[in-house]
Symmetry: C2
Subunit: 202 residues, 2 copies
Amino acid sequence: MSDSAPLDGRQQRGRDTRALIVDAAMAQFAESGYRASSLRDIAARAGMTHPGVLYHFPTKEALLMAVLQRRDDEGKKRHPVLGHLGREALAGMARAAAHNETQGAMVELYAVLSAEATGRDHPAHDYFVARYESLLATVTEAYTVARDAGGLRDGVEPDVAAPQLIALMDGLQVQWLMGTLPRSMARIVADHLNTQLVEPLP
Amino acid sequence: MSDSAPLDGRQQRGRDTRALIVDAAMAQFAESGYRASSLRDIAARAGMTHPGVLYHFPTKEALLMAVLQRRDDEGKKRHPVLGHLGREALAGMARAAAHNETQGAMVELYAVLSAEATGRDHPAHDYFVARYESLLATVTEAYTVARDAGGLRDGVEPDVAAPQLIALMDGLQVQWLMGTLPRSMARIVADHLNTQLVEPLP
DNA sequence: CCAGTAACTTACCACGCGGTAAGAATCTTG
DNA sequence: CAAGATTCTTACCGCGTGGTAAGTTACTGG
């Protein structure tokens, strides 16, 4: 809403390097977590010096927030809303797991950061709390809609199934990153959902 | 096997402070992860200065290994072997989840470290790979034994169910630490197992 | 073509890090 | 009680960190 102006040339250039820096920061945070990543590492990846980065983002923390913000924006472009879609939304979670298997850096970023941000003093703590709450609400709604449509087996409770599914996906990512997962994430998620759904997923 | 000697007074004192330091390191690593924890922080918790810590543990990395080693020893005292016990071993996993709910610091340690150790250059990487492989083998065996005893529902495959259960427990811990888990970990794990077992758990 | 601004770089700062060296204190044993 | 080892402290080192100040380059609009 702030960019109502038609952005001339230099504004465009600014945005471009901003995006480049966010790319670099994303990769670096994913590799080493937030605290262990240095602005110099990130700047080198973006082909500049570290005060160059600080020209665009006033602090390291602001850069982290920009990284998280952008991933959210991309996510919302890929699957808008989806909570009310019920069964189809759950199928979308399985597809998301498959998609994640091609996005190692992003997966690593969230796995490392969500664990790091567990501490109340971490700069991204509030962000992740909000994210989990929102995700939980969405998935719970999806299960509820699916159940009301008669798509869930008996005994599957949305309030239990939702945190279960989220936990399953998070935990799988760690094993997958560790290289000890003997099957694909998508397969395991689909199998899990198939124990809950009346009609199995493809 | 190295402490066959009857350890006299001074050896005992050394062991005591060693244990005190490991306690402090455990708490600090849990709060901030390995990389973000300083030897000075740890030393302060143990009531000494940081070279005092380095007298007992030659490097920060050695201290980390001692922390992990001790947790392993304690764990093996709590539940020895257990893979071959089948259904009873799976029930033990649910009880472990309940136990973990009283061990916030330990849970945080493993959640934070396992994510951090995902990177191949992390000092605890090999440790966690070995741990996951061993855990996977144990849980897979437990499911297999349970199935051969006719205790599993149709369609529950040990090779899928094992990484599923491990992932579920890991993921639940993150949500629990984040404070966004709407139910107890033990309840959710038990519900999961009850969709797989012929005879429900208590 | 020149003024001005956006986009950087170089140089620096104070600080905290892991680790080392050397000495002081404490304790055990002959 | 003296000898000797164990345990810990004080003081230091080089290095990398996030952040700042000031100057340089490059481009754009008038």
